[in-house]
């Protein structure tokens, strides 16, 4: 009775920052309707996308997220009237910045999912999971976390490389 489940070598960690009024409720609706989607997303609830600081996205990547989803109410539907409009600009700027830094934007998805769009939630979460799964782990930030200044490193990569270069 269970659908055939594929085993993947890599299961990405997806963090979803969502507003409570629309997308969180939309995700609830997906549950009520028993729609199925990959179990990779971890939801962090906010009152409004307006509350979502770009730093959180950055932090999520730093702390091991392979993909980040940010989702809120459709324009005009904001419970707080304009929070999502402000968020939209903020995220437009932030993703341009990340792109310029060299973060692959395929790992960062923004969406509007209303409380009625359980199906869309499933679609967005599934798409991002699958895309990021295909891309593999977010190496960039994870590598940074392990890197040290040469002076502070007990055993620096440079030193390692030097040793290996010597016959």
């Amino acid at each position: 009775m269970h659908a055939h489940k594929e085993n993947h070598a890599f299961e990405p960690k997806i963090v979803a920052f969502v507003c409570t009024w629309c997308t969180y409720a939309g995700a609830d609706l997906a549950g009520t309707a028993r729609l199925q989607y990959p179990a990779n997303t971890r939801v962090v609830k906010f009152p409004c996308t307006g509350r979502i600081d770009p730093v959180f996205i950055l932090r999520a990547f730093q702390k091991g997220a392979d993909g980040v989803l940010v989702s809120g109410c459709h324009p005009g539907d904001c419970h707080y009237m304009a929070g999502n409009f402000h968020a939209r600009r903020r995220f437009a700027a932030f993703r341009a910045l990340l792109d310029f830094i060299g973060v692959d934007l395929n790992r960062l998805q923004f969406s509007w999912v209303s409380a009625a769009e359980g199906g869309k939630w499933v679609e967005v979460a599934t798409e991002l999971t699958e895309r990021v799964r295909a891309m593999g782990p977010m190496r960039e930030f994870r590598e940074l976390e392990t890197e040290e200044q040469w002076s502070g490193a007990i055993d620096t990569p440079e030193l390692q490389a030097a040793y290996e270069a010597i016959p």
Binding site: S151, I154, E158, A161, A162, Y163, I166
Partner: protein
């Protein structure tokens, strides 16, 4: 009997040291500048200009891990970093103004608390100093009592010769040992030393400066200087002698790392107490600390000064603050105890 080494052999020496498993640190080109950095091979040695950062990070890293912790229901498990794992290092071609700071720093790091991270690095490092032949208008080593060929702190000292190559003088046993191990790369003999650098600033009367500082904790001068100060850490971070550090825990509730990294007295949050109170609340107090620490407190405590005249703070200051100029001014100031408020 002095020895000499050709430039080519100096580079071969580096290769040989690397092959022994030593970490060899020396001036290396890094983008638009030169930095002291590990050299993979002798060719990388770049003697063109004064490295942008001082050599102090060889002993006092920008950032180093002290311990890591994990915490769960059972409690906290701490894993200390063993300073014994610090690699054996040779610091090559370091300028006298950088090298001279090392023994000065020994005093504080081996004072009441023995900083094993610093001391272990010092123990494991052999320093090959290099006499300086080029000064710019920010250099003032001679003004603070050093010289472009000062061997203070060096184990082995290189003096550039007019016809290329270097004269090598072993200053310490470590230096002797290094000469002995790699004798084939050195030749017996002497040569004509290339002309030394000539910093333009005249000798400062450091005792007079100290005397003034002794009595001028409060003085309008501090306000005048610091009005301009932007409060960054460029001066302290580039300084070979500044050694303040911060210890922070990075990570979360369940696991993390305790790290030690450079701090600077110019920062607004320096000495900020957990209560929110800051005894050095305004920039003049912080700038005063910079001068006092270098030319009074450290003198009182260790009879040494925390300045080698390398001029890095002068070159790097975003707002043109010039410590040599300030010292000159203090040197000519009235010695009457200050009454002004900062």
């Amino acid at each position: 009997m002095p020895k000499t080494i050709t430039d080519q052999n100096l580079r071969l020496l580096i290769d040989a040291l690397v092959a022994e498993g030593k970490r060899v640190v020396g001036p290396r080109a890094a983008g638009t500048m030169t930095l002291y950095a590990p050299l993979a091979k002798g060719e990388e040695l770049n003697l063109g200009e004064l490295p942008r950062r001082s050599a102090k990070e060889t002993f006092f890293p920008l950032c180093e891990t002290i311990l890591t912790y994990e915490r769960d229901k059972e409690g906290v498990r701490v894993t200390d970093v063993d300073p014994g794992t610090i690699p054996g290092t040779v610091l090559v071609a370091a300028r006298p103004c950088d090298v001279a700071a090392a023994p000065v720093l020994d005093s504080v790091f081996s004072w009441d608390f023995k900083d094993e991270f610093f001391l272990e690095r010092r123990r494991k490092t052999t320093i090959i100093g290099l006499a300086c032949t080029r000064a710019d208008d920010a250099c003032f080593c001679t003004a603070v009592g050093l010289s472009p060929n000062d061997t203070k702190g060096s184990d082995l000292f290189l003096t550039p010769l007019t016809d290329g190559g270097y004269r090598c003088d072993a200053i310490t046993e470590k230096g002797e040992a290094l000469l002995a191990t790699h004798a084939s790369l050195f030749a017996e003999g002497d040569g004509t030393p290339a002309p030394l650098a000539e910093p333009s600033l005249g000798k400062l009367d450091l005792d007079r400066i100290k005397a003034w500082l002794d009595t001028h904790f409060e003085d309008p001068l501090w306000g005048e200087i610091a009005e301009r100060c932007a409060g960054c850490g460029a001066c302290a971070f580039l300084c070979p002698a500044c050694h303040c550090f911060d210890i922070v825990d990075e990570g979360g509730e369940t696991k993390g790392t305790r790290r030690k990294s450079w701090d600077a007295c110019g920062f607004g949050k320096f000495t900020n107490h957990a209560s929110g109170h800051n005894p050095r609340d305004v920039q003049p107090q912080r700038y005063r600390n910079r001068i006092m620490h270098k030319f009074k407190y450290y003198v009182d405590k260790f009879d040494q000064r925390l300045c080698t005249g390398c001029g890095r703070c002068i070159r790097a200051c975003p707002v043109g603050i010039d410590i040599a100029e300030i010292l000159s001014a203090i040197g000519t100031r009235d010695q009457e105890p200050g009454t002004g408020k900062d």
